[in-house]
Every structure is written in C-alpha cells, then in structure tokens.
C-alpha cells in the first residue's frame, strides 16, 4: 500500500486512531477494563497515570503485541483489531517501547535499519532521506554508527529507539516513557525533539510519568488509573487542574523552573524489565 | 496386511526361496528392503539361501559344510528321520501351553520373531494333526532388555498353563531371568542364547538347543588356520555380550595367528570404521574375523573393500542374515559365516512361508525343532513343568537342523556349527 507523505496531515477530520472499549488481560488478570481514546492526525496526545495504571498495556495493545479481550481499534478508518502486530507496523504504527528495546548485538546503523524493516517497497532515495533526517535530529547517532547498540549509554539508547521509530516514517508514533532513566538534562533534549517531530507532522501518542513536561507540550491528554481512563482534556488545562496536580505533579507542584527540573522523573528500565520478565520467563532457569 | 504381501510381490528373491529352500535366511526383519525388482537368478542347490538377494547378482548365503570343533568337515546325516510335531494324531491334552520369550518389539525384534514364527510352524502342524490336543504358544515380549525381561518372567511363571518355555532368546536376558525360571522349575529351552556361561550356573531347567559361542568360535578359528591355512587374522569385536565372548574364544583358539596389532573394538550402532580399516590395511592380514551383528558388519566390510583390503571376511551367526548381503552388496561376496543353527530344508521353508508370509530366518529351524520336542512331551501326556524338564533331559532324537541330546549342564552333546559362504 502506498504511504501518504507524513508531512501532509490527513485532510479529513476523521481521527487517525480510535480505540473504543478496549479491555486487555494478562492471563486471568485484567489490566485494562475497557478504555476509549482517540488521536487525531497531527496531534500530540499524552497518556499519564500512576504506575501500573495500564499505560504500557495500552501501547502494547495498540501495537498488537497484546490481544484485546474486548473492544475495537480503528486506525485510519480501518478496523485493525485483528491485525497482526507486524502488519500494523506496515500500516504505519510504530512504537519506541518502554525500556528502549535496542538490539544489543546490532550496530547503531543496523538498529536504525530495523526501523525501516517494514517499508518494503521504498526507493533507495526514500531510505536515504529518512536516515538523513534521523541523523540530523540525533547527530550523536551518526558519530556512533558502527557502535553496538548494547554498549551505548542509556540516553543514547533512548535516542536510538526514537530514531529507529522515525526510520519507519510512521503515521502514528507511540512513545512509551521516553524520559525514563535519563538525566534531567537529557530529558529536556528529548522533549524538545518530540515537539519538533510533532511539528514536522508526525502524529504522536506519548506515555509519560513526567506529567509536567508532557502536559505542557501536548495538545490533549488522557489520565489513566487502574485500567481505566478517568479524565481527558487539553494538555495545558489539565496541567492546572487541581486534582491532577495533586495526584500526578506531586505535592506543592507550583510552577517554576525549580520544580520542572525537580519533577523530572527518574527511572530505569524498571517497569519494563519487571513486566518483560514476568511475561517471558527466563529460559535459563 | 498389505505391507507384507507387497513385499512378497516385489521380492523376486523371496519367491525363489520358497522353491529352493533357505538356509539360515529369509527376510529377517519386517522391513526386508524388498525393493529389488530383479529376480534372483542364482540358487538352485537344495539348501541355497533365499531371502532378498542383492540386485547385483546372485549373492546369497549358502551352506558349505558342518564342521567339528577342530575345524574339520563333518558328514551330515540326512534329516529324513527328523522328529515330526504332528505325531500320531491321537494325543490328548487340554490347558497345556508353551511359552515363548524374546524380543518381539524393539531394535532386535527380528531375531525374536524368527524364533516365534518357527515355533508357530510346529504348533500349527501339531494342532492340525491332533484335534484333541490344542496347544497354544504364548508370547512374551522382553525387548531383549534384561530389566524388562525380569518383569516379564514372573508373568510367564504365574501362567500355570505354560509348561515349557522356548527362550529366552538373548544371552543377556537369559542371565537376568533364568534364576526366576529355575526357581519356578520351568523348562527353559533356548534356540539362540549362545553365551557359554549360561550352562555353568547350575540351573537344572536350562537347555541350549544349539552350540554355544565356544564351539562356534573354536571351530571356526581352527577351520581358518587348519583348513584354510590363514596365517594372520585380525579379530574385530563389537561391544555386545555376544561379540565380546565370541571374539575371546576365537582369539584364544587362533593363538599366534591372531594379530594383536590389528585387533580392534567397535561399537554397536557405529557406521564409520575408518580408523579400524586403516589399521587393518596396514597389517595386510589373510582374514578379518568379525564378532558382532550384521548392522555393523555390512558397513564395515564395505569400507574394508572400499579401502582395497582383500582379506577374507569371516564372521558368525550375528552376521548370518540376508540383511548382511543386502546391505553390503558386492563387498559381502566371499565372506565366510558360521552359525550353530542349521540350514532350513525346502519343505520347512515352504510351510514357514505359507504360515508366516515371510521367509524363515536364523534360528527358525532350531525353534521349530525345540518346539517339536516340547510338543512330543506334551503328547506323551505330560502336564506339569517338572516332568517336561525330565523329558527333555532324557530326550534323544534327530531334528531338522541337527541331533538333539543334552549333557548334564544343558549343552548339546554334539554341537557342530555350520559354515556358510556368501557367493
């Protein structure tokens, strides 16, 4: 299928992604109890919520690596509920997953090529263009082209994960906690780049613990709790919503330079590591 | 079933067998590799081996002569006086059966089945002739595995209708189970277990219906040095109970003629003998004696010939099987094989073929003879186990394969092996 130029937002007013009543379970434990959300073309939409609220689960379900127990996912007017994960990538949905998921044994260049994997019929020129764009966004990756992904530092790996996702020239970019485990300064940089990509026309669904930063940059946001969407609204408005402030921005989260710095969430691949481990028992046991 | 009838149709050699009789031969396994479409053209002698012949020509295992422990040729008596299971047709009995124990499934099943089928021929003749004495053969599968056999043995002992046992088939399982049978006082008449030790354990119920490995090995060793005049022989053994025991006797009897520099050991299941072949090639012997089974003997002889080793290949009953010829092809020709078992006369082979839809194999005739002896005992009115042992102990008579008379230990009084040749 031909890919519309991502730089040209779809002209129709239809949402690009529409999820209705999505429920997802891990074995007998239901993690999402029927959530609905939409993302319009060209938007930057943020999902925030406590730890374990189901944000990652939502992202994985959208990407198709978790099955829905009920509900529907519609992408670009097409029902993709039953579509296989790798086909969704071809359809234009790509994710930079929680915990980055850099292929440790591949070089930076090969990792980026993996992002381009699903784009079967592209011309060489298209590929070069995508690569050039990524390298211009993250010059550090160009420097380290031949380095193995696994030996990159945390921040570099995060850049690589985002860059790799961009290589797919996605219509919808899913970013799961891109700031996790990064130093405050890198976080700033990552957020700047996210805004930039979005302004260049890519639709983004972003999951963040760093609510302050995320909300201030997004068009709209959903707040999740225990597997349900409990609130939605315009990003900047939610930022000042007292209940949101109390729960997600921390006590005394008055605006100001100091706190925006202080609220920078720390994280490692913790949550991802734990979830991944539970799901994929280590063979060497 | 479709399978075996197909095999008959496809295997010209099999048809040949039924006409000309078979010696120690016939398709041994269920998969006789009967794919050869060319009819065997050779044969014709009264006791030529049939079975699946190789498509290259008329190569088959043919009996040459019976030899004494000193290796000298023994004149054979005609089998015309052989005991007949039919008897006088007036026997009366009921609830008396014969047991058969051996590998009926598993890797070595073919050997057990040869024996079972031979026994079935005798039973069949007997039951047809004696309407008032219907004897069944009860089969017990040991897989040839000693532990398995110790589990099966009590079932045999507990079946009170079994007055005598044909088997066990292999030496290993015999060693493991004979205490059970001897304790139960059940006659154990083996048609194939040839390990010499078996008769040295003091079991009163155990009789061997054929020569042991000592007689076979000693005889062939003498035959090689005295009759054939070989000066230098490489003895190669596999790791089975049978192969090791046999090689020991052969090496000892050969004395100086056995060249220790090219003696070698191989493993069951091995298919590559390059090191051994190389070693033998370096020694350039007159003959290579192989103590083991055909599964290894066939590739071994092929590789010997492939490496241009011209020495005569000599082996024993483990190799005396049509499969050996089939798998080794031309490399097998000229090989000398012994067997304590006798060649099957033509009409036995025919009866066997008709009943079992397959040609007789090694030990089929011997099993037939031994079953006949037990049947004669039953016909004489014996219904309990102890009496049958006594009957066998004092038995003396001719069979299809050889004369049967046992000494105190349970060995045959006279046990002269047969020499066969692949040609």
């Amino acid at each position: 299928m031909s890919q519309p130029d991502p730089n040209q937002p779809t002209t129709s007013g239809d949402p690009l992604l529409e999820i209705s009543n999505m429920a997802v379970a891990y074995g007998r434990i239901e993690a999402l109890h029927g959530i609905s959300l939409t993302v319009n073309p060209g938007e930057l939409v943020t999902l925030i919520g406590a730890n374990g609220a189901g944000k990652t689960t939502t992202m994985r379900a959208i990407s198709g690596i978790l099955p829905l127990s009920s509900g529907r996912v519609i992408f670009d007017g097409r029902d993709i509920t039953r579509m296989k994960a790798h086909q969704r990538v071809a359809a234009g949905i790509i994710q930079a997953p929680e915990g980055r998921g850099v292929f440790p044994g591949m070089t930076v260049q090969e990792n980026l090529d993996m992002g381009h994997y699903a784009r079967k019929f592209d011309s060489k020129a298209d590929y070069d263009e995508a690569l050039e764009r990524v390298y211009s966004l993250f010059p550090r990756l160009l420097e380290r082209r031949k380095q193995a992904g696994g030996t990159m530092s945390g921040g570099e790996q995060q850049m690589l994960a985002i860059g790799r996702a961009l290589m797919a020239r996605p219509r919808l970019l899913l970013l799961d906690e891109p700031s996790m485990g990064l130093a405050p300064m890198i976080i700033q940089q990552i957020f700047r780049i996210i805004s930039e990509i979005n302004q260049q026309g890519t639709t983004i669904l972003l999951v963040e613990q760093n609510a302050q930063q995320a909300l201030s940059r997004s068009d709209r946001a959903y707040i999740m709790e225990t597997g349900e969407v409990i609130k939605t609204g315009v990003g900047k408005e939610l930022l000042v919503d007292p209940s949101v402030k109390e729960a997600y921005l921390g006590v005394g989260a008055d605006s100001g330079s100091d706190t925006s710095r202080a609220a920078a969430p720390a994280a490692g691949a913790v949550a991802g590591g734990a979830a991944g481990a539970a799901e994929r028992p280590d063979l060497r046991k | 079933d479709g399978g075996s009838s197909n095999a008959n149709a496809g295997g010209g050699g099999t048809t040949q067998t039924t006409e000309t009789g078979s010696a120690g031969g016939g398709a041994a396994g269920s998969a006789a590799g009967g794919g050869d479409s060319s009819a065997a053209s050779g044969g014709g002698s009264a006791a030529a081996s049939g079975g699946g012949t190789a498509s290259g020509g008329a190569t088959a295992i043919k009996p040459v002569e019976q030899i004494s422990p000193e290796g000298a040729k023994v004149e054979q008596k005609s089998a015309s006086n052989a005991a007949n299971p039919a008897g006088d047709g007036k026997a009366k009995c009921s609830g008396v059966n014969i047991g058969m124990a051996g590998a009926l499934t598993g890797a070595n099943a073919a050997l057990g089945i040869n024996i079972l089928n031979g026994a079935k021929v005798a039973i069949d003749e007997h039951n047809k002739a004696n309407p008032d004495c219907q004897v069944q053969i009860k089969q017990f599968d040991t897989e040839g595995d000693p532990q398995k056999a110790t589990q099966v043995a009590p079932s045999i002992v507990n079946d009170k209708t079994v007055v005598g046992l044909l088997g066990p088939a292999f030496s290993g399982e015999t060693k493991a189970t004979e205490p059970i049978f001897s304790q139960a006082g059940l006659l154990s008449l083996t048609a194939s277990a040839t390990n010499p030790d078996l008769t040295k354990q003091g079991w009163k119920n155990f009789f061997r219906g054929l020569g042991n490995d000592n007689s076979q090995g000693g005889a062939i060793a003498n035959y090689m040095t005295k009759e054939l005049g070989y000066k230098k022989i490489c003895v190669v053994q596999d790791d089975s109970d049978y192969g090791v025991g046999l090689a020991k006797v052969v090496t000892e009897t050969l004395g100086d003629a056995a060249d220790s520099s090219c003696a070698a050991k191989v493993k069951t299941g091995d298919k590559d003998f390059s090191a051994t072949v190389n070693q033998i090639k370096g020694a350039s012997p007159d003959a290579v004696y192989y103590a083991g089974y055909y599964a290894e003997a066939a590739p071994f002889v092929s590789q010997l010939r492939g490496a241009d080793v011209k020495a005569t290949f000599v082996s024993a009953d483990g190799t005396n099987d049509p499969q050996f010829v089939k798998q080794a092809g031309n490399a097998a020709s000229g090989a000398i094989l012994t067997c304590p078992c006798g060649p099957a006369p033509a009409d036995f082979a025919k009866k066997y073929q008709d009943l079992n839809k397959i040609a007789p194999g090694v030990y089929s005739v011997d099993a037939y003879d031994l079953t006949t002896i037990m049947l004669k005992g039953i016909d004489s009115g014996i219904t309990d186990r102890a009496k049958l042992i006594d009957y066998v102990k004092s038995y003396e008579g001719q069979g299809l394969a050889k004369d049967y008379k046992w000494d105190d230990t349970g060995e045959l009084a006279v046990a002269n092996p047969w020499v066969y040749k692949v040609g």
């Binding site: 409990i230 | 304790q183 139960a184």
Partner: protein, 433 residues
Amino acid sequence: MSTPAAASGKPQARADQPKPAGGKEKIAIGDRFRLWWNSLSRPTQWAVGVPFIILLALLPVVRPPGISTVGTDFGGVMAQFGMIALIAIGLNVVVGQTGLLDLGYVGFYAVGAYTVGLLTSPDSPWNQTGDGGWLSAKWAWLAVLPIAVAITAISGLILGTPTLRLRGDYLAIVTLGFGEIVRLLADNLDTLTRGGQGLSQVAYPRLGESDTAMNGVFAAGYSNGGNINNGVWWFWLSLLLIVLVLLGVGNLERSRVGRSWVAIREDEDAAEIMGVPTFRFKLWAFVIGAGIGGLSGALYAGQVQFVVPTNFNVINSMLFLCAVVLGGQGNKLGVILGAFIVVYLPNYFLGRTEFLWWNINGNAIADYKYLFFGLALIVLMIFRPQGLIPVRQKLMTYGRQIWLAARGKRTKFDDNPAGSDKPGSTAAAEVSR
C-alpha cells in the same frame, strides 16, 4: 482490597492491583487437592497419608484388573516405578528445585549400579564377595548400598566442581556428555566391567530366607505362589526408601537450603547478591541428586542382578527428565506421578486385549508404544505445560503458621479474592499503616 481492608477503615492501599478478569475462574484439580490438603490438620494429614501409602503398597498384591498390567508382571513394573520415582525425586532436586538442567542423570544411576556390580559380582576383578573379599555374601548388598550412594555423591562432586560455573544449556550439554562418558567407560573399560558382557550375579539382600524361598524374598526367582514375588518386595523396599528420601528432601526444602535452591533457580545473580553461597548450594543439590540417583542405581543392580552399559544410555536420561517435567517440576509428589506415567504407560498396552470397551490387539499396539508415548508427551505438554501437579513448594519450616494466619480470615477459596477497584481511588500507595 474490598472487604477486610475497606471495612477496617484502612486506605485503599493497593489500587494499582488489577482486578481479575471475569468472576469465574476454573481451578485445576491439582490446586483443589492442594487446597484441601493444606486445610487439614497435621494429624489428619497423617491419618490420610499413611493409609494411602499402605494402599499404594498393596496395589501389586491386589492387582486390580484393568489397572494391573497384562504382558508384564505388575510387581516388576511397580518395582521399576519405585526406582524411577527415586530417580525423579533426585533429579527434581537438581532440575526442579535448583533449576540446573541435567541431561546426563543416567550417569549417576550407572555409577550407583556399577559400584554394586563391581564390588559384588563374581565377574568383576574387584569382587569382594568371594574368597578374600571383605563382604559376606549375605549382607553384601546392604553393605555396599551406602558405599554406592557415597561414591555416586562423590562423582556428583567431581562433575559439579568444574562445571557448575556453566550456565543453563551449557551445563545441560556438559552433563549429557558426562552421562555418555560414563556409559562409554563402562563399555570400554572391559577389563574391569567386562564391557558389553556385563556383570552378572550381582548381590541382593538375602532377607526372608526360608524353605520356600531359598534365597530370600528379594531373589530373582522368588514368588509366594500368589501375587507376591520379588518385584513386589523390591517395590516395597523402594517405597520405604522413597518415604525416607522424601522426608529428607522435604526437610531440606523447608529450610535455608531449599530456599537457596529456589532462589538460585529464580535468579542466580540476585540470590548471590542476597548472600546465598550459590556455588556451594548448587554443588549440594548436585551431590544430593547424584546420591539419590546412585541409590536407585544400586536398587536396580540388586533387582536385576545384572548390569550392562546399554541400560544407561541417553534415552534414559531423557525419560527421567520427562518424569520430572510431566509430573510438575519442583513438586515432589508430582514427579512421582510423572515417574509412574513414564514407567506404566509403555507397559500398559503390552499383551492387553481390551482397553475400556474396545477390543485391541495389545501386542500389535506394543510395537507402537514409543510412538504413542512420544505423542502422549507432546499432547500432555501442550495441554498441561506446567505439569500434572504444578510446583508449589513450601520453603519455611514454620510456614504453616503463616498459612493458618492467612486462612484465619478467609477459609474458603474466594472467586473474587482481589477485591474490586473503584475508579477514582487514589493511586498513591500508603507506606505506613
């Protein structure tokens, strides 16, 4: 945390706990059984357990038709089951509890059997039962038994010391190699072991000698004329040893040792960093597993009175492993059940002429027994990947105390135990309560 927590006015602390999907959840039979078992008091457990074991012991005496085997002696089958059950318990310590994949366990079985064989068979140059030997013919087997266990345990130590550094599948292949090496040595060192000729007339316990049983009840030929034969006696002996070994292994499991094993299985690095001397405990697991394997091997040698290398090939290692995984890795009772299936199934159809309501030709089927066995393995694994009785080990000596404290509140299995989560409940977790 609906009921108790909310009722007592505690804050809803674990709002991030997802609620279970649906309400009705099937509980596997094994779990129901465990739940029921756990709810019994200690004396009741004994009152149920002891008669059960006695019943089991009587099985080959009664030989219920339909259960008893036809083509082979049921007593003999049960004796083999007893030995494989011991093996499974030993292997379970290594594979199930400690998580070390051992594909060469048959090697220990062989070492045990050959120790007995070499010391008591008249065929062996090391025979000690004859003239000048230090073993009296009557007590030889019993005297050699502890030696066999000790030597096997030492062989476990010798194998384990250099190789337990290896992780996962590397250990698996090394142990597989070890198993093969043991068998090949037994085959090749024929001046000692008589190679493929095997060692015969291995000693066995001379117990219960009488006029009817000249060599005692364990002798190969023994039968009381009815159902009780030497196989049954060997089964009883194995059963006794199984109970003893189970008590021992159970004690270990509910102790620092068992916890260390499971911790190593779950996450070896984390265990080490939590202060577990991992190498030492892995070695212990290996040594204990080996010792139990050797014990079983000694039983085998005694029962069959004949040892040859062919009985100790790789396939047997695989079958032992099948018993463990089939029954449920880590669960002692499970692996015993697994051992039963592995031994019983191939024997069941032998010579059988009817199965349930169908007439069958047992001997024809017997040809296909390993085909069916293979299929059964695949199917069982697909439908019950966690084994028939999945793992749920208890790792604390006084864990029952906690269990009762938990049950004190809720005695029945609740279909909706996690409680409901009302939307809007605060996500914050309370630290102090």
